[in-house]
Each structure stands twice: as structure tokens, then as C-alpha cells.
């Protein structure tokens, strides 16, 4: 090793570190020690560098730590941790509140979307029934129109026999119906109004009779085109007895 190299390594050498902390490596350290052993100038430099390093290392860490710093740091971070905890709790609370609010809004929407049946609702039902009772033809006309059907039935029903207008589930879907009772009071006629809107396949709809019940099919013609009317009669011969007198047979 030449003096120039020795000077270079002396600058990099950790002279004052704990054993094993010098990063020069054993090979370089060995060569440096060997050079210093035969070069008084570099040896003096090495001694000076080591003395400087030791003095600097000692002075560097000679910083008095203020009394009570440990307690102050614990208190400070403790306060920060508590604040963070409170913030987390507040955030969790806010999230919970938001979730509750959403649930309530959802519940409210659901509640609002349901028909209200209370005292007023019951009164409403009574009013509808009353109107249907007093103005059966007009109410039926309005009912049919509300359901997109022509505002009359294709047969001249006797509205004195009218019972009510409503819906029946057929194939899982609601179908508007108009219900009449027979003049004897024992039989009923239910008129189903099927719209040709693709919701029902009516291709195979045929008249049928089972015991006391009979089904008659009236495809809509003229102003009733686009609708099929199916009349289900029970305890009655056929639909004729539910029609106005001039239209009844015999």
C-alpha cells in the first residue's frame, strides 16, 4: 500500500467505533496496519485521526438530556393517542350514525312505498265501496280506463247486479276484474280483462265448464280490439242472466 492509498483509507476508517464496526474489511485494515508500521508519517496521521475520532465521538454524544423529557414525551404521546382514540371512536360513531340514518331512510322509503291502511285507509276503502255501490257503471268505467282498457265491458251487464271492481292473480300477475252477482243472489260472474300486451299468452284460451263453474271467452271486437274478456260464472247457467233485460234470452 502506498501513502496516498493509506491516506485515503485513513479518512474512511472508523477509528473510534466499537470492535467490528469498521467497514474497511480485514484485508484493507491489514494492509493499512502494515503500511503504518513502516511509514512514520502515516502512522502519525493514523494516531492523530484516531485521537480526533475518539474526541469527536465523545463530544458528539455529550449532550445533556433535559430532566423530565421522558415524562413529557409520554404525556404528549399519551394525549395524542387519546385524541386519536377519541377521533376513531367519533369516526366509528359517525359511521354508525350514518348507517342508522341510511337504514332509517331505507325503512322510511319502504314504509312510504307501502299502501297505508289505517283509519283513513279503511275509510278510503269504505268510500270506494260506497261509490261502486252508488255509481257502479261510472266507477267501473273509470276503473277500466285506469287499467288501460276501453271504459266499458263488451257485454251489456246489469249494473244493478254489480258487486265490486278489483284484481285477481292469474299466472302470478294481477288482472282487472269486474264482479257481478246473479239476480238470485247465489251465483256470481267475474269478468277478467286481459290486454293483448304480451303479458299473457292467450292462444290456448278456450271455453270450459267444471261442475258449477263455467268459463266463456269474448275476444274484443271493434272498440274492444286488443282485449280478451273472460267471464267466469259460478252457480249460474251462463253470462246471460247477468245482462240487462233486453239482452237476456227469452
Amino acid at each position: 500500500m502506498e501513502c496516498r492509498d493509506a491516506q485515503f483509507y485513513l479518512r474512511l476508517k472508523r477509528h473510534a467505533g466499537a470492535p467490528g464496526t469498521d467497514e474497511l474489511g480485514s484485508e484493507v485494515q491489514g494492509a493499512l496496519a502494515e503500511h503504518c508500521a513502516r511509514c512514520p508519517a502515516c502512522a502519525a496521521d493514523a494516531r492523530a485521526a484516531a485521537a480526533f475520532d475518539r474526541a469527536l465521538a465523545t463530544a458528539m454524544s455529550d449532550v445533556p438530556v433535559p430532566a423530565g423529557l421522558h415524562s413529557r414525551l409520554l404525556a404528549s404521546t399519551g394525549a395524542k393517542a387519546a385524541t386519536a382514540r377519541r377521533a376513531r371512536v367519533a369516526r366509528a360513531g359517525a359511521l354508525a350514525l350514518a348507517a342508522c340514518a341510511l337504514a332509517l331512510i331505507g325503512l322510511g322509503s319502504y314504509a312510504r312505498s307501502r299502501p297505508v291502511v289505517d283509519t283513513d285507509g279503511a275509510e278510503g276503502l269504505a268510500q270506494v265501496a260506497d261509490r261502486q255501490s252508488h255509481f257502479p257503471e261510472g266507477e267501473t268505467s273509470a276503473f277500466l280506463a285506469r287499467n288501460g282498457a276501453p271504459p266499458a265491458l263488451p257485454l251489456p251487464f246489469e249494473y244493478g247486479l254489480h258487486v265490486f271492481n278489483g284484481y285477481e292473480r292469474v299466472g302470478g300477475r294481477d288482472v282487472p276484474v269486474v264482479v257481478f252477482h246473479s239476480p238470485t243472489g247465489r251465483g256470481t260472474a267475474v269478468v277478467y280483462v286481459f290486454a293483448h300486451n304480451g303479458r299473457f299468452n292467450l292462444d290456448h284460451l278456450r271455453e270450459a265448464q267444471v261442475s258449477g263453474s263455467r268459463v266463456q271467452v269474448f275476444p274484443g271486437q271493434g272498440e274492444f280490439k286488443g282485449f280478451t274478456y273472460v267471464v267466469l260464472t259460478k252457480n249460474a247457467e251462463d253470462v246471460q242472466q247477468f245482462l240487462r233485460a233486453p239482452f237476456q234470452r227469452g
Binding site: 467497514e23 474526541a55 449532550v63 438530556v65 423529557l69 409520554l74 404528549s76 404521546t77 393517542a81
Partner: protein, 180 residues
């Protein structure tokens, strides 16, 4: 263990060395205490980032240095001269360095730009390896070696007998790598 308890354990284990590092970096007891406190505050908030507990000390030192850099950013309180003006290498000398006074050392450190002050503090004070310092400062190891050699040269010159008047005087110039 809760976050608060983990940080309490970190405080007990490292607060003294962190305070001393902060003091040597900032040169002020008040700033050092603030920096130490801020460091543990950050540590509490970022505890999840500490994956290896045996790296806690290096992690805390890095937080502290970042806090310090954040504080002094844009603060150019000293006139600066290139480090070349001090000289790169310590010349051959047989001068025995007497015991170094802490205040003189701090005055000499204050003259160094942080880019030179940090490696020399870490090298002597915490016996950080070149590799540790390079990682800490996110620098190539060769740059760390070069800066350390120049910083040592400056300190040796500043702390040599006869330099008392220059060190710590109001007109002292800050030593940098030439970037104003």
C-alpha cells in the same frame, strides 16, 4: 399491545439518542425537544409502517430527520460558501486534538450544511455504518463517504487549536456542497 403502549416502549428505548441527534442537527435544546416530541407523534400515527421492530431506531431517526428538514426547508439563514473552500482532505498533521468542547463542536456542526452534518453526526454519534447512512439519506454509499470525508475535514480544521475565534462567530459561513 396498543399503539400508545408500543410508542411508550419506543420512547423509553430511544428518546435519549433521538434527543441528542435532534440537538446536534438543530443546535438548539428547544428545537431538539420539539423535534423529539414531533417524531414520537409521527411514530404514533405511522406505527403501522414499522414492520420490523429491530429497525425501529433507524425508522425513528429517519422520521426525525424528515421533521427537521421540513422545518428548515427554505430557511437559508447563513451565508454559504462551497465546501471546496475548506479543503477536501485533512492534511498531514501530528496535532493531537485536545478534548473537544461541546459548544465548539456544535458551532462547527452548525456551519455545515445538513447534507454534510447528518452523515457526520450519524457516523460518530450513533455509529451508523456507511450503508445505514446511505439508506437513511437515500444516497449512494460513495456520496456518503465523500460527504463524510469532507465534513470530517471541516470539523478537524474548525476544532484545531487556533480556530476558536472563527468558530461560532456571528459572521461564520455555512459550509455546503456549493449549492446556495
Amino acid at each position: 399491545m396498543s399503539s400508545a403502549n408500543e410508542v411508550s416502549a419506543l420512547i423509553s428505548a430511544h428518546y435519549e439518542s433521538l434527543y441528542r441527534y435532534a440537538y446536534r442537527l438543530s443546535g438548539s435544546a428547544a428545537d431538539a425537544e420539539d423535534l423529539t416530541q414531533e417524531t414520537f407523534g409521527k411514530a404514533l400515527a405511522r406505527l403501522g409502517q414499522l414492520r420490523e421492530s429491530d429497525r425501529a431506531k433507524a425508522w425513528l431517526f429517519r422520521i426525525l430527520r424528515n421533521q427537521y428538514l421540513h422545518r428548515v426547508r427554505d430557511q437559508k439563514r447563513h451565508r454559504v460558501v462551497p465546501l471546496d473552500a475548506v479543503g477536501d482532505l485533512p492534511g498531514r498533521t501530528d496535532d493531537a486534538v485536545p478534548e473537544i468542547d461541546g459548544a465548539r463542536l456544535q458551532a462547527a456542526l452548525n456551519e455545515l450544511d445538513e447534507a454534510f452534518r447528518t452523515p457526520v453526526i450519524l457516523f460518530y454519534f450513533e455509529e451508523f455504518s456507511y450503508r445505514d447512512i446511505a439508506e437513511h439519506m437515500e444516497l449512494p454509499i460513495g456520496t456518503v463517504m465523500s460527504r463524510l470525508a469532507r465534513a470530517k475535514a471541516h470539523l478537524r480544521a474548525a476544532l484545531s487549536p487556533g480556530e476558536d475565534e472563527a468558530a461560532g462567530t456571528p459572521g461564520a459561513k455555512k459550509v455546503t456542497d456549493g449549492v446556495p
